[in-house]
């Protein structure tokens, strides 16, 4: 087999792994958009905030330490303990649920019935506010995040592909675990929405607010629920991305990669978000591999958007469009 083809296969696999990450972020958007029609610009910052909070809790940092020290002239930074990863993740989930509640209680409860553009603006405000809160709570330094996921080259894949092709594929263990976790998360979300009372209520609200009210569903409750789920999805994305490249501001920019994914997959389709994420992940990796060197590289920055735009021209409703709208 020619080398080019083998490399392309490796690139494709790595693109798939990146695509999983895009899909995760897009999924957070879809959850909220379906249930409330809100395009949540803050999804990326939520991933950053979740990851920061996780690191902070794990390392036993005192939240708002800087502020406290300013006001009281103290010099405290750490509680002096370390919290095990699993417990820290659970606590972060609680924080994200609290965040969801607060967002609903203090912002969107007061904006019911407003134009989508107003709701969108509110999420822009929310994004910058949350970024500030994140800074104030945990500081803005880059943090390393380690929740014990395996890292480094996967030996088995390396050896196997070497035996077959005479060239060992480089696939990061972290990407593999991220893909597995993402798959479990998506399966869990689908089961949840199909088979539980809350899931049914979520689907009902996504379909028709009036009808949902008439069967006894509290819109407020469902909205807190979807923001919580989006918060959990953001946490998972934050963990994956943060473990790979550290927890820092740029983490919030992965949200920008979710946009072309949504253009491709449609704003209301979970399968669309996943397939869209994978297509963008693979597409931009292959493009960079094949065409990038000829035009000076760094095509990842824009290729996704071009792909999505081309797609948009031919299928404005997204990959799965109307057909799958009813499925969360």
């Amino acid at each position: 087999m020619p080398d080019q083809l083998i490399w392309a296969m490796e690139v494709t696999l790595n693109g798939l792994m990146t695509g999983v990450m895009y899909a995760l972020v897009a999924l957070g958007f879809v959850l909220i958009f379906k249930a409330s029609g809100i395009f949540n610009y803050a999804q990326g910052v939520m991933a950053l905030f979740a990851a920061m909070t996780l690191v902070g809790i794990q390392e036993g940092r005192i939240p708002f330490a800087h502020l406290i020290n300013e006001i009281f002239g103290t010099e405290i930074h750490h509680f002096g303990w370390h919290v095990p990863a699993l417990l820290a993740i659970l606590l972060t989930v609680v924080v994200m649920i609290g965040f969801a509640w607060a967002v609903q209680r203090f912002i969107f409860k007061h904006l019911v019935g407003q134009e989508p553009i107003i709701l969108f603006m509110a999420t822009i405000g929310l994004a910058y506010f949350l970024e500030g809160v994140s800074d104030l709570m945990w500081g803005s330094e880059i943090r390393t995040l380690d929740v014990g996921l395996p890292q480094g080259i996967n030996g088995w894949i390396d050896n196997t592909t070497f035996d077959v092709f005479g060239y060992g594929f480089f696939i990061d263990n972290l990407d593999i675990s991220a893909s597995i976790v993402a798959a479990i998360l998506v399966a869990g979300l689908i089961l949840y929405s199909q088979y539980t009372k809350n899931g049914r209520a979520m689907r009902a609200v996504a379909d028709d607010h009036q009808a949902a009210l008439s069967v006894g569903i509290s819109l407020n409750y469902v909205w807190v629920l979807v923001w919580s789920l989006a918060g959990i999805v953001a946490l998972v994305a934050g963990i994956m991305w943060g473990s790979k490249s550290g927890v820092q501001f740029s983490l919030s920019l992965i949200a920008l990669k979710a946009l072309p994914v949504l253009m491709l997959g449609g704003f209301t389709s979970i399968p669309g978000a996943i397939v869209g994420g994978l297509i963008i992940g693979v597409g931009e990796a292959l493009f960079e591999f094949a065409i990038g060197p000829m035009i000076g590289g760094a095509t990842e920055n824009w290729f996704a958007y071009v792909l999505a735009l081309v797609f948009l021209v031919f299928r404005p409703q997204g990959l799965f469009g109307e057909k799958i709208i009813e499925r969360v």
């Binding site: 949840y192 088979y195 539980t196 009372k197 809350n198 049914r200 209520a201 689907r203 009902a204 379909d207 028709d208 009036q210 009808a211 949902a212 009210l213 008439s214 069967v215 006894g216 569903i217 509290s218 819109l219 709208i325 009813e326 499925r327």
Partner: protein
Amino acid sequence: MNEAIHPPIDPNEGYVTEDGRRIGGVVMEMKHITLRFGGVEAIKDISFDIREGEIRAIIGPNGAGKSSMLNVISGFYNPQEGEVWYKGQIRKPMKPFQVARQGIARTFQNIALFEGMSVLDNVMTGRLNHMKASFLDQGFWWGKAQREEVENREKAEQIIDFLEIQAIRKTPVGRLPYGLKKRVELARALAAEPQILLLDEPMAGMNVEEKEDMSRFILDVNDEFGTTIVLIEHDMGVVMDLSDRVVVMDYGKKIGDGTPDEVRNNQEVIDAYLGVSHD
């Protein structure tokens, strides 16, 4: 149909209709309800009661305020003035979902279904208030959650059989013709096993045969489950046939209240309907 029978004066006393149905005491009472939209008074100081087990019609020309009244009962609108009494207690201003949880189900004049879901899923969603198992329960007590799912499923299927829509149970609602949608909406409301069922023009836009079917279903629901029914309808023949008592509204005011016969012979009601277009 029930001309000869007149309900007793005492709100707590029941009676038996000519066709042998047992009507109870007053279950819901609207007292001096006034509802405004900006400058428009959609309901002007209206009072009436609803007895347990009766079919109570609200009629009136277009824009009379009938739907508004139904929306007040179901909590979609909160009146500026007046009180709603339910089961002997005054009802605080409530959200629609809270009213629904008190056992009051409804359909809409313009149909509000879950268009993307199948008929069965729509009906199952009507049973949400009978589903208890939380997510944690479902994780830990799989058996319990499954038993509940099976019970709810059975109930939903019963209602689907009752309304004779078995053939379309798996069809996405969005693809159904208008008449069937109305029936699915009724099925979803019934799935909640409500004590009071509010129907806003359940037969609008139907042909004669569909109307006959729907009338039969409404009578059957009332008869078999003892459900109290509040019905808005334009077709006078249907109203006179189905209902035990009728409230007549015009320009937001109540201009008549009584048995179909009393209302039919009320001069103010006759005047209101003369020259007023209604379908």
